[in-house]
Symmetry: C2
Subunit: 367 residues, 2 copies
Amino acid sequence: MQTIRVETPSAKYDVLAGSGLIQTLAPRIERIAGRLPRRVFVITSGPIWALWGEAFQASFPDSPIVLFLEPGEKYKSLASVEKLLREMARAGGDRGSLLIAFGGGIVGDVGGFLAGIYMRGIAYIQVPTTFLAQVDSSVGGKTGVNLPEGKNLVGCFNHPLGVLADIAVLGTLPKRELRAGLMESIKAGIIRDRALVRFLEENADAILARDPNALEKVISASIRIKAGVVNRDERENGLRMILNLGHTVGHALEQATGYKLLLHGEAVGWGMIAALSIARKRGAITAGQFERLENLVHMYGPLPPLQLKAKKVVAAAGSDKKNVGGVKRFVLPIGIGDAGVIEDLTPPELEAAVSYMLAQAAERPAK
Amino acid sequence: MQTIRVETPSAKYDVLAGSGLIQTLAPRIERIAGRLPRRVFVITSGPIWALWGEAFQASFPDSPIVLFLEPGEKYKSLASVEKLLREMARAGGDRGSLLIAFGGGIVGDVGGFLAGIYMRGIAYIQVPTTFLAQVDSSVGGKTGVNLPEGKNLVGCFNHPLGVLADIAVLGTLPKRELRAGLMESIKAGIIRDRALVRFLEENADAILARDPNALEKVISASIRIKAGVVNRDERENGLRMILNLGHTVGHALEQATGYKLLLHGEAVGWGMIAALSIARKRGAITAGQFERLENLVHMYGPLPPLQLKAKKVVAAAGSDKKNVGGVKRFVLPIGIGDAGVIEDLTPPELEAAVSYMLAQAAERPAK
């Protein structure tokens, strides 16, 4: 079991990563919150609850009230939020109630937002069930939903009382999701932790076979990196931007493919290939480092093939809310274990990098 | 012009009260925010904008983008919030945008909530246009909307960068709304400011005739009281409860009359009559103080007549989210200028006070 401390100006809490947390939730929550609240709500998805609901409930003297969110990005909406808020009100939720978000990234984002706005804020706890949610979205306090006009346009910064990442739950995660989630760990290693990069290179078989010790090591290292960055820049004014390595092109790929073809982690994987290409040309990484890191991304693939025009991807990147008026700011690795933000990316430079990545993506059929 | 400082753990800002603020908004915002943001949104209502839109826009080099909220409690909803968020997104609102809430309490509550959740929070400024919003709802950081299950069940604590209360705007406020709003000033005086009570007693004619100096004095004193309480208890854990004098019965009256018959301040006025009756019986105020304060409430009436059963009002009070399982906590004046919270109110005691108040309400036809 590993404990990672998050300490920002607005919140202090622990992230626990280890096996068997699900079965001991109630006493852990009692310790974190001081007492077990009279009314405990769980927001989850049907498939997760079918697999893990029984284990989840085992430690609670009274069964929590279960709120279901339909799986899928299209339910990450204000309509879902309204429906769930009304269910909470009808079930007698009050200011002393607690909400547990038990699921992947979407459940965590919606759950954190619900907790942030129900009766102007109630306490909540994250129990992430996907690799991606464990290493990334459950830590940092970003919550919210989409609008038809764009993703994550509505939400709030709202930290949980704690995050309990149970590695055993990853046993039922589809293999493709595990591989995609690992892209965020690769990213974390590249921007901040040379040792994690080496561990990922040397233990791919054990990690992909879900060896608990290997997973605990990767997950806790990834969380530690994210927490370290968030602790120093809660509101994404500066440093936190480096967490976006691979995300500028990644978001553009997700948008250009209608959010249907790629898992988020897969888009970030391809986005990192583009970023590595720019970094190599600018001399931020050596040819040897480039090769090593590119191999690492593909080691945790296969990334899905893409049939896209570079110009379309570049245009999509320029329409992102973070890149009004074209992409100029861009996160690049600096060697292995550090990263920085450039402010002068040029359109031809971006297009060349995207073309390099798309050439690979076209010839790499999914296994 | 009066300046009142709000300083809570999460925000520090000034409330300005005086005449002529509307005409000088842009330079004031520039001073408060450091610069005039590229995109300024205004949320307002049609009637307010028709009266004051031109004056509002006069000081802005580029016209702000106007978002309209239909007047009425039923538009204080998540549906309105979604519609307005989408309008902001389509108009290119980004994280550096500013929102100005220009209207009464509903516009302020919805506007503060919008600003709290658009892109996880953008800056906003309150420009309240009703007496009630100026002395009460614009200060304290409470924002939100209703659910069909109950009022203000959704929202967040979100302080503005500043509050600009222009007294000249009250010139177009319907007389009934002015009288109702003054009930919150009476409440503020009773719980915290003996001198304000005396000023309200001695200057009713000037205040109701909207003499600017008299209004500025009442408004700034009321804001100072609210700010003083909020500064010491931002999240309503203790002291802030005394601001609810008259509100337990007031909310019950609003609910029992379907939110149609009474303005909020009028309900609070009747609620204060009930609270005064309990306070007199408990000896928290003398018979002389009771008479004086009861007269003061009616001086700023007439409060609308009511045809209700006491039992129905008591039942409605017990169904409020703050009074789960029956009303036990209740705010009472202690003499004039202080207040406290009792924890042992009994149902017969509440019913007797409500009956006393309803007897008055039945025989007092609106002028």
